[in-house]
């Protein structure tokens, strides 16, 4: 089937099998391997991308369902060489270890901050509840999103040095 999808601002027209998952389209057809696959039950969130403004698990969507949509992936959130505040927050606050969950975490966090500029700790935790991380215990991910939120609101964000035991 013929699909036309805009990914990170670039329009792609492709002929795809009807059963091709969106995550496989991104990874294998477009070569955007930043979006990861961690499960087969739509549970881990490693494959999260933003489709028309909404965070979606791309392993649970067929490519043909995204026909005509705007898709954003982790490769498209930075503004050229300038990191997105969420990316910066994850770097500053040690919000990643193995980094496998990170692209999905970043996309869920971007979507969260786009709909709620000043989330509480609880709202942050709820916002990323669909994304599993096995490495961080979520502690520094929460801090990373708080950092990004502060930065996006023009406040002075707090990095890892404000927190680490000496």
């Amino acid at each position: 089937m013929e699909v036309s999808i805009t990914v990170n601002g670039a329009k792609h027209s492709s002929e795809v099998e009807p059963r091709l998952l969106l995550v496989h389209y991104l990874r294998e057809v477009l070569g955007l391997t930043g979006t990861h696959v961690g499960c087969d039950t739509g549970y881990c969130g490693a494959c999260t991308v933003i489709v028309d403004g909404i965070p979606i698990k791309s392993c649970s969507m067929l490519t043909v369902q995204a026909d005509g949509c705007e898709v954003r992936t982790v490769e498209g959130v930075a503004n050229g060489p300038e990191l997105h505040p969420v990316q910066e927050g994850f770097w500053e606050c040690h919000g990643l270890q193995c980094g496998f969950c990170t692209p999905g975490m970043i996309m869920s966090s971007v979507a969260l901050l786009e709909r709620n500029a000043n989330p509480s700790e609880t709202e942050i935790r709820q916002g990323i509840e669909g994304n599993l991380c096995r490495c961080t215990g979520y502690h520094n991910i929460v801090k990373s999103v708080q950092y990004a939120g502060a930065k996006m609101r023009g406040e002075d964000p707090k990095g890892a040095s404000s927190e680490v035991a000496s």
Partner: protein
């Protein structure tokens, strides 16, 4: 020291800019031209004889290149596991299956979708046999897993634990006599330390590319031990180590599950060799429960005998430890690691029997902590229970039995030497910080209102930093692969001709930030900026040896190798710089990317000038060879022994049994710290996994050996809303086992935490008559325990 000192400082990770932009290359992101995809046909039975396998329809299916069974790979031998105790797994099931999910056939096709289609056309006839899953039944040999052999592979004891190598006197003098005394109390609890699925978020993945021209193979594998995998591939196919390259690129979490050599790693190499094309296999999440190792799985009884003043006169632990169906890399060694610290931080007589027993389930092996969380769980639960029964504060009972700082180095009852410790100081630091007395008052006040608040404490000591050469051959032998039999560390530090630095290390990190921490060590030693240092790891051709990352070993062992290599490079660079500056080498100091003469910062040369000279030997002083690099293999004289104290405050809902974790504090001591941000991150993740064992996770098998929790939807991993923020602090008791004074921190959080939570929950409901609840403390279990206690 240098003015660019970055040791002990928070430095943002060098790894992160790549990972946060989606540029990290995990195995599934590495592509080779002409790849084929493999899929496995797996057994639906936990015990069965295979009477026939019909592969004809699958072979004829669209896009299929080959279908392999045991007949095709038998000549390669069994899976090259490294501890050859018990039955080794065949590469593909050979006439029988011993657990659900055991691989029976491999289908290779143009892509994964077609391979899966064809796998559904492989018809296997099974004659089901008797299954044993229950550990006590297996221990009693009610049903035998492997022919006539007993299910009990071996029993680890506290003394004579490796027959003929270490044979110590009975370490439990007087325990029986103490039990018979009138003034002693003996308490006992039977407890389950349940099976877990390690669950790295990146499933395992492999890609092999055999080059028939060179007779060599390249294998990309999501592994913690690329060098060991290379050794195993070489031995299996009869090719020398310089023809095998194993690369562990970015690895998306390990936790022990990637600390094995698996049949799939061998089989994709075989298929690539046969078919002349690269072959890839990626585990599905459901498969991870069948194809990858699991952790824990003990049923045991802990017993303490002591006096009413809290003095413990004997600790006994007997447990049945589930090995699953086959032996892998460390399978029977996991309980041994537990045995190493089973007596914890206490000075009292001990007696152990840890039975390694096979069942018709997937193999168990290391999972974060590997035996040490289990051992710490039994010990710290029963110490807590003893304190409650004699009516003493649990902190005071612990202090009454600790080894004291002046006792170090401590010779343990099983013949190991603990390097350093100050347990009481560490515990006091925690108690002061949390305001222990106030917390207890708060808990008691809430209880008076009918709220079920509980305060739980655990302290722990662990053993890591493997490993001492003295332990070589004691089951930690990888000699069968031509690998070194001791777990030494390796590191190469090379200054490039332009004055930048390349560091190559023998670790296999999966998120531990080694590129950053190792760059800090080198930057500190050479005065070269962090940005000018690149750290490489995870490629078996880079270094002659590398043991990998597990057992919290990397920094203490490979970190030290790099530290020593750095010192040697600095020494030679000082000679060259001294020559260029007409000064004595002893007077040369390194800082800010330059070498200068002590006391005259203007008499300086850049690293680039030193390197330029080093690579033009005619410019060097007489007797100095060209080049500027050092390669060091470090053999630690001993393991290291981190320790710590953890506390949790929980509230139990009396109506539902739901446990709310309100606060979690930890004061850990891992010796010197190179990057506190990374160390804290390791603790966060470790603590989360311990809490998850206590409250959420359990790998459940039914009586027929079906794994009921093979998807993330029914294996309850903690999500962001399940956990609180953690409050960390540390004490610093350096080790003298290595010059960095570092002990390792990867597993500490997990070893300290599960029993902290259970102690807290039991504390919340003890006044209702509850004495123990087995993990995971899901609401139903807690609620049921409260109801049972009422009766």
């Amino acid at each position: 020291m240098t003015s660019t000192s970055v040791m002990g400082g928070i430095v943002r990770r060098k790894e992160d800019p790549s990972l946060i932009q989606g540029k990290g290359a995990y195995v599934d992101d590495v592509k080779r031209t002409g790849e084929l995809a493999a899929v496995f046909v797996r057994s639906p039975f936990a015990a069965a004889t295979i009477t026939s396998i019909d592969i004809e329809a699958a072979k004829a299916a669209p896009g299929v290149h080959a279908v392999y069974t045991a007949d095709d790979v038998r000549h390669l031998g069994p899976n090259p596991a490294q501890v050859a105790v018990g039955t080794l797994r065949p590469l593909l099931a050979d006439g029988a299956v011993k657990h659900v999910g055991e691989a029976v056939a491999m289908v290779v096709a143009e892509n994964r979708y077609l391979a899966q289609d064809a796998a559904d056309l492989v018809f296997v006839d099974y004659e089901p046999g008797e299954v044993v899953v229950d550990l006590k039944d297996a221990f009693a040999d009610k049903v035998k897993v492997h022919g006539d052999a007993s299910n009990i592979l071996l029993t680890w004891h506290g003394h004579g634990w490796w027959e003929g190598v270490i044979d110590l006197p009975d370490p439990s003098p007087g325990i029986q006599e103490a039990k018979e005394r009138d003034d002693t109390v003996t308490v006992s609890l039977e407890m389950v330390n349940q099976r877990l699925l390690p669950t790295a978020i990146e499933p395992r993945a492999v890609l092999a590319d055999w080059n028939s021209g060179y007779g060599s193979v390249e294998l990309w594998s999501s592994s913690q031990i690329p060098h060991a995998v290379a050794g195993a591939v070489g031995v299996t196919f009869g090719i020398p180590s310089n023809k095998v390259r194993v690369v562990a690129p970015e690895v998306g979490g390990g936790f022990g599950v990637k600390l094995n050599v698996y049949p799939d790693e061998i089989l994709v190499c075989f298929a690539s060799k046969e078919l002349g094309r690269p072959v890839r296999w990626t585990e599905t999440r459901r498969e991870a429960g069948f194809a990858s190792t699991q952790g824990r799985g003990w049923v045991g009884t802990a017993t303490i005998t002591g006096t009413a003043d809290g003095k413990i006169l004997g600790y006994e632990l007997e447990a049945i430890c589930d090995m699953g169906a086959y032996s892998h890399n460390f399978t029977v060694a996991v309980p041994l690691l537990g045995l190493f610290i089973a007596g914890g931080q206490y000075n009292f007589p001990t007696s152990y029997a840890l039975h390694c027993v096979v069942t018709n389930t997937q193999t168990t092996d290391a999972y974060r902590g590997a035996g040490r969380p289990e051992a710490a769980y039994y010990l710290e639960r029963i110490v807590d229970h003893f304190a409650r029964e004699i009516g003493m504060d649990p902190a005071d009972v612990r202090k009454a039995n600790y080894w004291k700082p002046e006792d170090f180095p401590v010779q343990t009852a099983i013949g190991l030497t603990m390097d350093s410790g100050d347990y009481e100081k560490n515990l006091d630091a925690l108690l002061d910080r949390v305001g222990y007395e106030d917390l207890k008052a708060k808990r008691d006040a809430a209880r008076a209102e009918g709220r079920l608040l509980g305060l739980g404490l655990s302290t722990y000591v662990e053993v890591c930093g493997f490993g001492p050469s003295a332990l070589a051959g004691l089951g930690f032998s990888w000699g069968a692969y031509g690998l070194p039999t001791a777990f030494n560390g390796s590191g190469v530090v090379r200054v490039q001709p332009d004055g930048t630095c390349t560091v190559t290390i023998g670790t296999g990190p999966s998120g531990q930030g080694h590129e950053t921490t190792w760059a800090q060590i080198v930057s500190d030693g050479l005065g070269i900026a962090m940005d000018n240092i690149e750290v490489h790891h995870g490629d078996s051709v880079d270094l002659p040896m590398g043991i990998g990352t597990f057992g919290s070993r990397s920094i203490a062992v490979d970190g030290t190798a790099t530290f020593e290599a750095t010192a040697r490079v600095r020494k030679k660079a000082a000679i060259i710089a001294g020559h260029l500056l007409e000064a004595a080498p002893e007077d040369i100091q390194f800082a800010d990317g330059r070498a200068h003469v002590a006391g005259s910062p203007d008499r300086a040369v850049e690293w680039g000038q030193i390197a330029e000279s080093a690579y033009q030997p005619h410019t060097l002083p007489e007797g100095v060879e060209g080049g500027l690099e050092s390669s060091v293999v470090f053999s630690p004289p001993n393991a290291t022994w981190p320790f710590g104290s953890h506390m949790a405050l929980v509230e139990v809902d009396p109506e539902t049994g739901d446990v709310d974790l309100l606060e979690y504090w930890a004061t850990d001591d891992c010796g010197n710290v190179i990057n506190p941000m990374i160390v804290d991150g390791q603790l966060h993740g470790g603590i989360a996994q311990g809490i998850a064992q206590a409250l959420y996770e359990e790998a459940i098998y039914d009586d027929m050996g079906n794994l009921l929790t093979s998807s993330m939807a029914n294996y309850t991993l903690p999500v962001s809303t399940s956990l609180p923020l953690f409050s960390l602090d540390r004490t610093v008791t350096p080790t003298d086992v290595n010059p960095l004074g570092v002990k390792g921190v990867g597993e500490a959080g997990t070893i300290g935490s599960a029993q902290t939570i259970v102690n807290a929950v039991v504390d919340a409901v003890a006044h209702l008559g509850v004495r123990h609840i087995d993990m995971p403390l899901r609401p139903k279990r807690v609620w049921q325990a409260i109801q049972d206690a009422k009766e």
